[in-house]
């Protein structure tokens, strides 16, 4: 059945019929001129919004509608996580051509609503409209955080250490495989493709970090480590030194890099859409942080870099401390 056949009212009804809302927080959700919610006055409210356009941010043949819906929300949850907060309320706006199959829009919403259920997010409003061509999705996500646990990009200071919540480069490897085709269908292919199409949601890690009181700055890795650490450097007015040999790279990513003939460190440093959290903390909290990581995640916390003065700028260095520059094929020593 096409959207043009059932109409907007019927479509919205069908998309929202299984939405359940927290009556303690939501006074009125979908169905009035605006949503009305209660917000605890002692917490800060977090708000993030983005817009994803077919042909620019995704290709319809490269991602399933369910994955597209899930990912649209996941990347916004990542923004709330990067502030140390928890997501609470969601508004979605979707523009689709009227000759689109209803099933496709339902699948997008199934991806969105699944993640809502997983993280107790209330779908409280939005807009569903026609577009002349192509799908556009805009997400607005509201969250909250205790004022003392808000984590900004601007708190990194010289000497602070840098770490990340997971492996780097897998999503970029997945995207590259998608663009080139992926002939073998081996386990490593599946793994990097999944990293790209179903990015992680680091809410548990975010709360652990914001509640630790040790973290001084945080950002989520959407544009790639190089660009995103640059954002922390700019906001904190510092520089950073990244240790090339300490970047966490999964075996699957290494295998994908060998197949794609891309240097793995380049991919980990430059590739985007990891949606891991990058954070800084003072060196005196290192052993405490390592204990926390071991206890909560059963993993070794790797320090991937250190904050230096603004004058030193942003550098990536090899194991002997020599500065390197990266190209697609590998790195070039000065």
């Amino acid at each position: 059945m096409l959207i043009s056949e059932i109409g907007e009212v019927q479509l919205i009804k069908c998309l929202t019929e299984d939405v359940s809302l927290d009556p303690e927080l939501v006074v009125t959700g979908i169905g009035d001129d605006a949503a009305a919610i209660k917000h605890p006055g002692d917490k800060l409210q977090l708000i993030t919004k983005d817009i994803l356009v077919e042909g620019i941010h995704f290709l319809r043949e490269g991602i399933s509608p369910w994955q597209l819906g899930r990912k649209s929300l996941a990347v916004n949850i990542s923004d709330i996580a990067a502030m140390g907060g928890v997501p609470r309320h969601l508004l979605t706006a979707v523009a689709v051509p009227s000759d689109t199959e209803c099933g496709l829009v339902k699948e997008i919403y199934r991806g969105i609503k699944g993640l809502c259920r997983e993280h107790s997010i209330n779908l409280i409003g939005g807009d569903t409209v026609r577009s002349p061509q192509g799908i556009t999705i805009s997400i607005t996500l509201l969250g909250e955080v205790e004022p003392e646990q808000l984590l900004l990009r601007s708190g990194a200071r010289e000497g602070h250490l840098l770490a990340v919540t997971g492996c780097l480069g897998a999503s970029a490897a997945g995207l590259e495989l998608l663009l080139q085709g992926y002939p073998f269908q081996q386990e490593w292919e599946e793994e990097v493709l999944k990293s790209h199409l179903e990015p992680p949601v680091r809410l548990k890690e975010s709360r652990m970090l914001s509640e630790s009181g040790a973290v001084t700055s945080m950002i989520d890795l959407s544009d790639g480590l190089q660009k995103d650490i640059g954002e922390i450097c700019q906001a904190s007015e510092v520089g950073a030194r990244i240790f090339a040999d300490k970047l966490p790279i999964s075996d699957a990513t290494r295998k994908a890099c060998r197949y794609l003939k891309i240097h793995e460190v380049s991919l980990a440093f430059i590739g985007g859409e990891d949606y891991e959290l990058l954070f800084s903390f003072p060196p005196e909290r290192l052993s405490w942080m390592k204990d926390l990581w071991q206890r909560e995640r059963g993993e070794n916390l790797e320090v991937i870099g250190t904050i230096v003065s603004k004058e030193e700028g942003l550098k990536i260095v090899d194991s002997r401390g020599g500065e390197i520059t990266l190209s697609r094929k590998g790195f070039v020593h000065f």
Copy 2:
């Protein structure tokens, strides 16, 4: 200068450089992963979101970029006003082709920011991205309202009276003129065109009505009186009887209707995008409401209809109480 020449970072900088935020409310605005704001815990928060697509909601040649920006925000302010609230914070997402002139995007933002300044709205975030073709604008507007002053669609009861905050049909007449061309450039043309391109912002009236304690339901007229009163009827489980000869229609709209050969009552009843507020109140508050209207607006409050039982449905009646149905050319008596 094209957007492709200056890039996203420079564009955002240029669009947001003159944004000033209320430091009492905004902890962090544009520039981190999410915005962080303080919200007074004793008020409800209102949130509305929509998405406007070129070729569906507007034609680039029919509206100036400044008007497009202003209207995108105005129609969302109207949603907040319809709940009895005041707008506080705005997030905008704009998708534009990379061969778009920067000046055009700046003009859209000038329209948005002008209205922000007028109503003390903080522009706290958003997204600016490329699109393969056409402009898409998504607005998220946050507002607030005292819990006891929240006005829903669901409070209308049998016997309640209906009124609107201004004239009807002008915007639809303006749209019709735009589509047909408007050869005379007379005063009445300018007036109805302006109603369509620069819709009213009824915040003052909204506050007056929500603070009056007399209003039982309210909605903003975006889809036309017929459809929007239908929303109140559905939410309140009632019917309504609209008095055709009491619908407020401006002289300019009457002149436009004569030129366009459309019946003015049809236009006022069916035409969309008036962005006036439609509200109900109990009959015992009528003289009080009339006094309020006279005192605050220097105008006579006209009762345009009455709420009846659900079984009676929605009807429009002539001065003798006879039911009429409307067509483009006029009305047909049963």
